[in-house]
Amino acid sequence: MNGIINLLVNGLATGMLIFLLASGLTLIFGLMSVLNFAHGGLFAWGAYGGVWLYAATGSFFVAILGAVVIGMLLGLVLERLVIRPVYGNHIQQILVTLGAMLVLSELLKVVFGPNPLKADVPPLLNGSWEVEGVILIKYRLFIICIGAIVFAGLLFVLKRTKIGLIVRAGVMNPEMVQALGIPIRRVFTLVFMAGAGLAALGGALLAPYSGVIFAEMGMQFAILAFIVVVIGGMGSIQGSAFAALLVGLSGAFMAYYVPELSLAANMLLMVIVLLIKPSGLFGAKG
């Protein structure tokens, strides 16, 4: 019982981190049809930014907030300078965002040095609770809570606000949104920044969870996030949330029960979904 609950918590926590990355990716792809391979780089910058700010200020809250701001600013620069010139051209987008990914992670080495850094869990969230013989690690529960709050917040913004309606409509048909007199380019920038901020938040939260951070850490999570976006359906936040938890849980349980299959499991999941429903489980586009 203890083991299963632990796996569950592990899986959910990992799933939430993947979700933070995938939610931005899926909105950026859904709205602007941009495949952003630099997303993992923003994730890593969030992790480094968080660790650095935590060391500098001693406040985990400031560290997390600062990491999000760093991510959003990087997102702004990236969208304006790198993505904007290549809207509508997928090949160029792949090349240019992959390039941006490399630049982002090399810059981390320039700024913070090439060696992995240690990341500490803040004292308040350190340790665990024991409930009826089951050990619950506080920090993992914290990640799950933050993930759930972000999910609820995103749904609220998308469903109940003016900008949310524009974004949902834009995912379906950006030209038509433009025809209604809405400057869609500015919405693009805003969504890109939000996605970058979420990626950085994911990175900042992951750092104490894994205990050590390195410049290329974004890659591995970015791949999982891409799988999640495909499974959940491009442009769908609910789809990404569902798929992220699925991938997180399957990763945790597979690694425990059939470790040989743990890497292949996510790919298999994606293949099966693509065979049955090519637009993804919650696909918003045709």
């Binding site: 109940r160 003016k162 309606l165 524009i166 379906m172 038509m176 025809a179 209604l180 007199g181 500015r186």
Partner: protein
Amino acid sequence: MSGRRTDQADDMILETEGLTIAFGGHVAVQEVSLKVERNRFKSIIGPNGAGKTTLFNLLSGQLRPTAGYVRFKGKDITPLAPFQRTRLGMGRSFQITNVFPNLTVLENVRLAVQSQQGVRLNWYASAKAYRRFEEEAKHWLDMVLLGNRIGVMANYLAHGEKRKLELAMLLALQPDLLLLDEPTAGISIEEVPAILEVIRKVKEAGNRTIVLIEHKMDMVLDLSDSIAVLFNGKLLADGRPEDIMNNETVQAAYLGGLYDDAVASAGD
């Protein structure tokens, strides 16, 4: 917007001069000079392939002309992007129905209301403003006879209902000039009168200019204040419906076999 009505140009909400667009060697619209009077109903008719939709795309900014210019409310708008023209008060519908399939009927119109109100990028909305948008959206939906369908996802609507929804979105933008691209295209015979009824209502409100594309002349005969005939990308004739009916060039070039029917229905 000067309030003076002495100058004749003041009464022209839309003018084109020598409007031309060529795709490679093919000239789709050639030297079209068109004037549309404020608050009037003008139809542009012509057989399929005459360049009607291309002309519309030039008017609404989807395409840039090879030569000539478009003037809207006395201002040269040739270089403006579509959304800028929308903000100046131009609204257009598309021949292919363009609604957001996974939004509800109400949300579709609310988006247009929001855009019209100019509150585009606020992250928050006070509950009051939000409700006001919904009220206004409902008002337009009532106008197009969709008031009973507000909670339905747009992709579950029948085709004719989708066109009504599109009209409601267009009206919610409160444009001074409405460009309607074959609003009855692809609609079943039973639904056509309802659409025409909505268009008639808008016309009778009297505060909007309507330019409508149609290839069946009888459809627009009694709605139109004037009719322009497009043929092979050129403006063949432009005038009052009865003059167009009796114009021999038009009869020869365009009406062809339809001529007898049209005379029968308009002759008496």
